[in-house]
């Protein structure tokens, strides 16, 4: 069973995309790829999710924007990005050199019309494989999160985007809701092709000396290993109530974490904060994932998707 030479298949199919492995960097945790490309060949990734893109340039939130917390970090970047036109002209073409690397563009905004406009522009791009609809950023005022916490609003957003999108649409869900299953079901019924969860958990830390919130904008989004159990539970619950694929996100640092998300029901995963700790995190996690399969006699990683679900004896 533990044959070190065993040939294992860790590829997965996600929407219409074939991913050579289930690991992709999460939006906002990899910029547009150029910086990390000096550390390794991005072609080893299952896919890449680039930074949230809005209609117009955004300068983002005041500093400090990041703060370490126990086994995690808070961020309040505020969707700083150069706007969709420059993203399409200056950032995405660079990634086309990685021929088998699906590029997923995270779309954000403050009103449905903005999202629709960005999606329409991206739909003409040969450099895009899928859209990830960001209705869960906690760090912008009236920026997405109101769509991410109301099932009806989420559904209208998804319908509006699906009407113009030429690529598959993944909806990125917020954990900052009473019932994430209700949100997931509403998005699926409105036509979402896939779901990614979770975005960051809203949190805050106080600067004791200054007696005020440490982050420049007060609250921020908590990420890292501290939130992994929250994410696992949400993936586990959502998986049983939808038939579209789920992408697991939240505190993945190791190959074992990837396996855990897949067993909970994820078809693929996104790695976020780990990239900040270690620029080589993704290739290491991919190697560890393959190694886990070898060690456990798993010939195809697709066998373990949902393995921990009750219906599968979990």
């Amino acid at each position: 069973m533990n044959d070190p030479q065993m040939d294992v298949d860790i590829s997965v199919n996600l929407l219409s995309l074939h991913l050579k492995n289930p690991v992709m960097p999460a939006s906002g945790c990899f910029s547009f790829g150029k910086e990390v490309a000096s550390f390794y060949d991005l072609g080893v990734l299952g896919a890449i999710v680039v930074k949230a893109t809005t209609l117009d340039e955004r300068l983002g939130n005041p500093t400090p924007r990041v703060a370490e917390t126990a086994a995690g970090m808070l961020n309040s970047i505020g969707l700083q990005n150069p706007g969709v036109k420059r993203v399409m002209q200056e950032e995405l073409p660079y990634l086309s050199r990685y021929r088998s690397l699906p590029v997923i563009v995270n779309v954000a905004g403050t009103a449905i019309d903005d999202y629709v406009d960005v999606t329409r522009q991206l739909s003409s791009s040969p450099d895009v494989s899928a859209i990830e609809l960001n209705i869960s950023c906690p760090n912008v005022k009236c920026g997405g999160i109101q769509f991410g916490s109301d099932p009806q609003m989420a559904a209208s957003m998804v319908r509006a985007i699906k009407a113009v999108a030429t690529h598959p649409v993944i909806v990125k869900l917020s954990p900052n809701v009473t019932d994430i299953v209700e949100m997931a079901v509403a998005c699926e019924e409105a036509g979402a092709d896939g779901l990614s969860l979770i975005n960051t958990v809203i949190g805050m830390t106080i600067d004791l000396e200054r007696r005020r919130p440490l982050l420049g904008s007060g609250a921020g989004g908590l990420s890292g290993p501290a939130i992994k159990p929250i994410a696992i539970r949400m993936v586990y619950d959502v998986f049983r109530h939808v038939s579209i694929p789920v992408i697991g996100i939240g505190g993945i640092m190791t190959g074992a974490d990837v396996i855990e998300f897949l067993m909970a029901g994820a078809t693929a995963v996104q790695v976020g904060t780990a990239n900040f700790v270690d620029p080589l995190a993704c290739p290491r996690i991919i190697d560890e994932t393959r190694e886990w399969c070898v060690q456990h006699g798993v010939r195809s990683i697709r066998e373990i998707i949902g393995a921990a679900q009750p219906a599968n004896g979990g």
Partner: protein
């Protein structure tokens, strides 16, 4: 491919209260010369996940013959206190040197170095390199109090050092800007400053009045250190418009002309 970041610790000395000098094998071959004073090393304080983020510590001294780097740091929280536990022979995870350091300009003859508190360490490697390229070095350093002085003797090996303290317990009482007199500045072709933002803002204003060009090494809370998290931005005026530059990648050293303080 970037160098693998695991390196061996050679020395870890206590320089004063809460003040440490950590010397380790350089992740890059220093003889190739691909480093600058003012760059930083991004160091994990432990391999566990409880302290997740790296700590950016500025390069204080490069020993090219032994291929070793030294950083000098003050403990500021539980994370840096964890770092104090590492000892010679241990292996630590170091990325770097990262970022844009202090440029050394061929046309300059006389340089003025200005440091405040934990902004002083990068001035040591800078002073060494400026002297090695034949320039004179004049240094002004400021601290809150005598107990926080660091690297004054080491800096004095490269030129005259003026010490300022907030409470007058060492050197002269006052801020570093108090020492930046018209007379002193008239002897400088360029200045280099590193310290907390309020100090840098005051230095920038003073040196504009004195009409001396210079570089500022900015301090912002960093996440990744390589330009992907966009956490450590600082406002700059560039190409006719206000924008946010990544301190870790486009800095930490910036030409003072483009730096905008709130």
């Amino acid at each position: 491919m970037a160098p693998m970041p695991d390196v061996e610790v050679f020395a870890h000395e206590t320089l004063g209260k809460d003040l440490y000098a950590l010397t380790f094998a350089s992740p890059i071959d220093l003889r190739a010369g691909n480093y600058q004073p003012g760059q930083f090393l991004h160091i994990r304080v432990s391999q566990s996940f409880d302290f997740l983020l790296r700590r950016p510590l500025s390069l204080c001294y490069a020993d090219v013959d032994q291929n070793r780097l030294t950083v000098v740091y003050r403990t500021q929280g539980a994370g840096t206190r964890r770092l104090t536990a590492c000892k010679p022979g241990d292996v630590i995870d170091v990325l770097g040197p990262l970022g844009q350091g202090f440029p050394i300009r061929a046309q300059d003859h006389r340089t003025l170095l200005i440091g405040g508190g934990v902004g002083v360490p990068p001035l040591l490697e800078l002073a060494k390199q400026l002297r090695a390229s034949g320039k004179t070095v004049q240094t002004v350093v400021g601290f809150q109090t005598a107990g926080q002085l660091m690297l004054v003797e080491e800096l004095a090996a490269y030129g005259e050092v003026t010490v300022m303290t907030d409470d007058g317990s060492a050197g002269t009482r006052g801020l570093v800007t108090t020492a930046l007199t018209a007379e002193l500045c008239s002897l400088a072709d360029r200045y280099y400053a590193c310290g907390p933002s309020p100090m840098l803002k005051a230095v920038q204003q003073t040196m504009r009045v004195r009409n001396v060009p210079g570089y500022l090494s900015l301090e912002e809370r960093m996440g990744c250190g390589i330009g992907i998290c966009v956490g450590c931005v600082h406002a700059v005026y560039r190409d006719g418009q206000l924008t946010n530059a990544k301190t870790c990648r486009e800095g930490p050293v910036f030409d003072e002309r483009e730096v905008v303080f709130a």
